[in-house]
Amino acid sequence: MKKLILIMIVVFISVSAFADEKRFAVPVGDSPSTGPMNAPVTIIEFLDFQ
């Protein structure tokens, strides 16, 4: 039983570690941007000024 719980914990940790490795496709459109169009890294920030 203890072993099972341990396995479940390990599985849970590894799943959550990879959870955010999903890549989202966010259309850039005409949004304000800075930096070269062909930059190797694109950061899209959703912000609220307030």
Binding site: D30, S31, P40
Partner: protein, 131 residues
Amino acid sequence: MDTYAGKIRLVIKNAPYIYRDYSHLAAEASLAAKDQGKYWEMHDLLLQRSPVLDRDSLIKYARELALDMKKFTASLDEKKHAQEIEQDKKLALDMDLYNTPTFFINGRRVVGERPFEYFKKIIDEELSAKR
């Protein structure tokens, strides 16, 4: 950003929170400044002065940036960019995104403010993957 000059493209989407008084107006102000080629100046100023973002303050900031006040005020009052902002809001909603700021670094999601080191790690991973 300066650390990675030429390697990063930063794109801003507006996700004004519906229950905050001036979120929407501040987004309008930023896009009105964009029309006059001063988006980033206004972006920095708004973040610096937030949460003081009422109409009079926004007009004062525009004056500080030497914008054409007639055009700026008209744009703000007519909510000229409402459609663009709504589009961003819809996108955020479609992506099930309720926290700001939220970042997508080459599509990898980061929710909330994080220390620079946290971003640096992801950016470095992305840069070495591209090499």
